[in-house]
Assembly symmetry: C2
Homo-oligomer: 433 residues x 2
């Protein structure tokens, strides 16, 4: 067996067997398969795909490239959620404490933002002092103590995925369903969960822009989950406009604090409750998703969810005074209000463009090594379906980068589409698989 | 512009403009585009192809990555030949001195064998002392003195091609028509020729196994030649069985010496004369290909072609005593005769398999760094259409690697197919474009 033969075999559309996938992935970790051979292979997979069996083997090889955390000593059904990523997708920060407050252990390993989408880790780290790089021991300890932990991928968890993901990002090989599926599931399986709820996003601001691709990805993820004995369900949700109003790191944390305190941001909370209901159903705490949703509403109303969020922040060394008093957070040097130049209904807000503008403001990164400004971002004032008067505020921009403000304003104005008629209603949750 | 954007653009099937191709190729040479980005790009080109305009731009960028040799001070129309590679393809060693003997300057830059095909440089270097790494100054000097020079690609000639070819070889991205076309033509244009005859091989032992691919490649090559003001024609020739009888380095040189001395090896000389006729026609020395062929036959018959070959060997420091007396060459440690186990007509000889067996014997390389044994090889005794008696010799094996002899014998026996009826005649030259 040699690397070139395997690249050529996949390139020619043949199915790879376990031995070949193991040889290639493990060889890459050991250095006998080089970066340039792996990237050619990934591009061949992009074009020739992998069938379900190959994807499951790839996932398995990636899981066993590192440690599989054993959480069996912790009581209860451990449930996690994974989102395929979107703009303003801050759901985890509300969802995880909410479900944990219902008595279900939530061990969550999250990622960073890349490209136009944000990442849960960056949002958490915008809380001064908050640590996301816990050891596996602390990870286990925290779950057993407060039912909740939110960390980043460690060196021990699926190192093959870590290395592959970094390479895919710089070689134009991200958008491949088998590669995405193996990447997501290898991390989730290695983190020691029993069940998983997926939020597969579709639309302009999602990685899977077409609904059929999103459905295919969801089916792949569920099938792999089954193979590994993890109860898995998927929600297909809309990502045509940003979720909620805030897009940026600290401003999203503030929105989450408000929601945890009972504020209703309709689209954000609809998705959060639906996912929470699914998690409680999988955990066996609720009989149905609907019952689970009711339980979630209860812990938000009672303040238990917010209390759990505070426990999380304290446990991971975040400065709780900023949660109690978000106003004391440092402010961006420049702010600007975008005002409507006509009256009408908001017909469309381009989530992808909003994502890219927020990166430009400093809220995201285009390269792994880019630094993030937690204060930077956009807070929308109007969303799809809202009526706006001429001169009314559409959104507010926050940044330390004065030099790009004009460009940002210009692009943000164009990201809004205003029509004389209200838009046709589009459901936020397209379905459950 | 950034490398990932360009990879994604090609991956999605869009046409790249000159700026983008320049940015990517020159960036690769300077190091701002990495190996792994280039290999992902090459695989994307494998799948999405390049149109003729992109291929011409790629060629141009590769030509100007190095020196374009100026041969305008040398009188006459400088003509070269390029073969897309085959098994037993020793044509250049007869053709170049033959055409030079007709008064046409032949500046030839050749390659090494890789995979199942041999390379002219390895064959020349099997002549003790023969130097192929001349400077550009010596290259020009030799042409002006004896109308003939045969060297390897120098660091100055199309360095982008050199670097790209090495990468394609280890990443499964060799078999791409635009990449092959740009690779061939960039070297040929940079070497300073005025006209070019192409030998595009098709069949089992060729890189382009299908005739339609071979025709597409030929058309691409000719179109690029035209753009750069080089008169270019292509012959489409058969590569289903090895060309001539010898497959290996020194044994092929011996076969060429015999042919230069007037021996007729039918298929080998038919191709050689046709290409020679084409070269003389392009040079304007002959009015038609047929007239050119007659002139070539004349210089073989008169001994002038062999004399020119001797001049070449002397000029490039080869030991002429081995040309005068090939028998004094060192012998392989092991030889074996393959005998037929039935009587009948040779219906088929698998050129690809013969190529791979010869590599195994030591005559070729699977990796760039492999060392070649010039003595190793196979000399066929029978070719397609020949009648063979039970027990008669089919071929002879030469190698220093005793341990692989049994495998080689076994595979060689299977490479021959013997039938009771003579095979249907297949023309050697499929056409001229």
């Amino acid at each position: 067996m040699n690397p070139v033969e395997i690249i050529r075999k996949k390139r020619n559309g043949s199915k790879l067997d376990r031995q070949e996938i193991e040889f290639f992935i493990n060889g890459y970790l050991r250095g006998s398969v080089s970066d340039y051979q792996m990237s050619a292979f990934l591009m061949a997979v992009y074009f020739q795909k992998m069938d379900f069996e190959e994807t499951a083997v790839l996932t398995d090889v990636m899981v066993h490239s590192g440690v599989v955390v054993d959480l069996s000593s912790i009581e209860g059904v451990k449930v996690d959620k994974h989102s395929t990523g979107g703009v303003g997708d801050k759901v985890s920060l509300i969802l995880a404490p909410m479900v944990a407050a219902c008595g279900v252990p939530v061990p969550m390993i999250s990622g960073r933002g890349l490209g136009h989408t944000g990442g849960t880790l960056d949002k958490l780290e915008s809380i001064p002092g908050f640590k996301t790089n816990l050891s596996i021991d602390d990870y286990k300890k925290n779950i057993s103590q407060i039912n909740l932990v939110m960390i980043g991928q460690t060196d021990e968890i699926a190192p093959a995925d870590r290395k592959l993901y970094a390479l895919r990002d710089v070689t134009g090989t991200v958008e491949s369903i088998p590669l995405i599926a193996a990447s997501i599931m290898s991390k989730k399986i290695a983190e020691g969960i029993d069940a998983l709820v997926l939020d597969v996003k579709t639309g302009r601001g999602a990685f899977m822009q077409s609904e059929s691709d999103a459905i295919e990805l969801a089916k792949n993820l569920i099938q792999i989950g089954k193979i590994f004995g993890k109860k898995t369900i998927a929600l297909l949700t809309d990502m045509n406009q940003p979720l909620g109003y805030a897009v940026g790191n600290w401003c999203e944390v503030v929105e989450c604090i408000e929601c945890l305190q009972g504020k209703n941001v309709p689209d954000l909370m609809e998705v959060t409750y639906a996912l929470g209901g699914g998690m409680l159903m999988l955990a066996g705490t609720a009989q149905t998703v609907e019952e689970g949703i009711s339980m979630c509403r209860e812990v938000i109303k009672s303040g238990k969810a917010f209390e759990k969020f505070n426990d999380l922040v304290k446990m991971q060394e975040g400065d709780i005074s900023y949660i109690k008093n978000p106003e004391k957070y440092p402010k961006s040097k420049f702010t600007k209000e975008i005002k409507s130049t006509s009256s009408g209904y908001i017909g469309h807000i381009d989530a992808l463009e909003i994502g890219f503008i927020s990166v430009m403001l400093g809220a995201g990164r285009m390269k792994v090594e880019d630094k993030i400004d937690p204060k930077a971002g956009i807070v929308l004032a109007k969303k799809i379906g809202d009526f706006v008067e001429n001169g009314e505020i559409l959104a507010k921009i926050f940044t330390d980068r004065g030099e790009i403000m004009d460009t940002a304003v210009n692009r943000l104005e164009k990201a809004y589409q205003i029509a004389s008629e209200p838009p046709v209603f589009q459901p936020l949750i397209h379905g459950m698989i």
